[in-house]
Amino acid sequence: MVMSARPDAPDVPVEPSPAAPAGAAAMASDDARPLISARGLTKRFGEYVAVDGVDVDVQRGEVFGFLGPNGAGKTTTMRMIACVSPVTGGDLSVLGMDPRRDGPAIRARLGVVPQEDNLDTELTVWDNLLIYGRYFGLPVSVIRERAAELLRFARLDDRRDSRVDPLSGGMKRRLTIARALINRPDLLLLDEPTTGLDPQARHLLWERLYRLKRDGVTLVITTHYMDEAEQLCDRLVIMDEGRIVAEGSPRQLIDRHSTREVVELRFAVPEQQDAAVPRLDGLGARIEPVADRVLIYTDSGDDTVAALSERGLHPESVLVRRSSLEDVFLLLTGRSLDE
């Protein structure tokens, strides 16, 4: 089907749909086509290659993640998808359109939650939504209806006349998400949505994002928190130094690249750790000494722990846990995510 290429005529469903603030306008005939498709996507800043030949497909209705450490190229990739950073190489299609040509038309149908809040501090909570809706050319009556609904969604309805500055970090982030939904976007892009939030604010935000996911909104998230990626993403890519190093669902990635369990050993002093490492040979599929502990990748943590004492090894602490995406990243790159 032909997509509207008019930046100033956003798709406005007339009926209010409180359960689906976004994405509800999906056309059945579009379902098979990926919302985002990148082939060899590259971004150079002069000599520096920030994104180095990335291939990605994001399907309608899924929550897709870019996981990787700071500087991996996640934000730059996201900015190219958001049509606020020109592609310097490869192909990118967003909502079936070409960002090089159709930037305004694509942006009209996106919701963007940037890493740093850029709420309008000269305006109230309500006016932030109002102005943002106006930027999309929406009539005030439509914005008013949606804004009321979105403030309830963001649990900010009692703060509508408050200025932005006194809001907590979590409230600001929720307001930014509400603002990003004002145009009922087909695609919501969230760059590091919970960075800098306290655990409670983080969980509330996750819960709100779950709700969007349940309502069928397509979400694309960048994060350097593996727990965030595991909790939210149906599918993700792991990025490192501008490239994709692995792709799949969290479960698939762990099954494919890691063992079922991990035994973490901590020693009282580094010398003990150094002495113990050579004696761990054969205890697991892989032994990874990191800064303050040794990780043994194994299919049975209990067997490995038993084998430890048979060899006369008694670390200060022993922890058996399931493999996580953090382990996948470590095994693939030899570094941990927060390095």
Binding site: P7, D8, L110, N118, L119, L123, I131
Partner: protein, 281 residues
């Protein structure tokens, strides 16, 4: 008293009334950026008008009427007119320049770097160029409002001696924009506001005082006179003065307008390029 008091929320009254017509914004989307600025201004218009109009009116009283009386007693006329009539267009153009500077330094840095409101706008269907254009449009509108009110007051005092004086309103705004456009471009490209107060001291204040505002530029030392004549403000003052005194020749009008429009065009080109580089790198 009626119990059925009218329950109209302030937002219900204000919000709809202040939105631009949809046909207009569809044709010129950048006006939505101006609408945002207007909405913010709507909360502080009283103080804004107070500084924007009261200050020049006070200047007019002190310089035009007070000092002017003294000048006229001793000198007769300045450049062929009473001092009040001479200084009115000078103050008009100079305060437009000052307002332009105020809007083009720190608020621009806030939009690009501190608060990032321009980034937020550029993530919507608006483009970086439209964000620049919308902002410049708003600055122009504000200068038109201030200039309009000032000219009205000046006319009452007797500072405007020709009906052509009404054209001094767009002339002052054009002069202000010739300063605001390149300055906005400059500010958008800076990494810090370090240079801004220097610009105020070494560019804005000297221009304000010496571009033919309070006395003709031929009173300046010979070496300084050509410098004054290439400032946007001198051209704006000449345009405004020609309008309020009714003495402007067609050639003068075209020449000064062309100079200012050229500076505006260059400033807009620079501004669009800088906004693009900053908002969509």
């Amino acid at each position: 008293m009626s119990e059925a008091a009218v329950a109209v929320t302030p937002e219900a009254v204000g919000a709809g009334a202040r939105a631009l017509p949809s046909g207009l914004v569809r044709a010129v989307p950048m006006l939505l950026v101006a609408e945002r600025e207007a909405r913010v201004w709507g909360h502080l218009w009283k103080t804004s008008l107070l500084t924007g109009v009261l200050m020049p009116v006070l200047f007019l009283g002190a310089m035009g009427v007070g000092l002017g009386g003294l000048v006229d007693e001793n000198q007769g006329t300045v450049a062929g007119v009473e001092y009040l009539a001479f200084v009115t267009p000078g103050i008009l153009a100079a305060t437009a320049l000052q307002a332009a500077a105020g809007e083009s330094l720190w608020p621009v840095m806030a939009g690009i770097k501190w608060v990032k409101t321009f980034h937020a706008a550029a993530a919507t269907s608006l483009s970086p160029g439209q964000v620049f254009g919308g902002y410049a449009t708003w600055v122009t509108v504000r200068m038109l409002i201030n200039a309009g009110l000032f000219v009205a007051v000046a006319a009452l005092i007797g500072g405007v001696t020709s009906p052509w004086g009404v054209l001094a309103i767009p002339a002052a705004a054009l002069g202000g924009l010739a300063f605001a456009a390149p300055l906005t471009a400059y500010s958008a490209g800076r990494d810090s506001d370090q240079s801004f107060s220097i610009i105020m001291r070494v560019a804005v204040v000297p221009m304000f005082l010496f571009s033919g505002t309070f006395f003709p530029v031929d009173q300046l030392p010979d070496w300084l006179e050509p410098l004054a004549r290439v400032t946007p403000l001198w051209h704006a003052v000449e345009l405004c003065r020609g309008a309020t005194t009714g003495s402007l020749s067609l050639a003068g009008a075209v020449g000064h307008s062309a100079f200012l429009l050229a500076v505006v065009a260059a400033g807009c080109w620079w501004g669009v390029a800088t906004f693009r580089a900053k908002l969509a790198p």
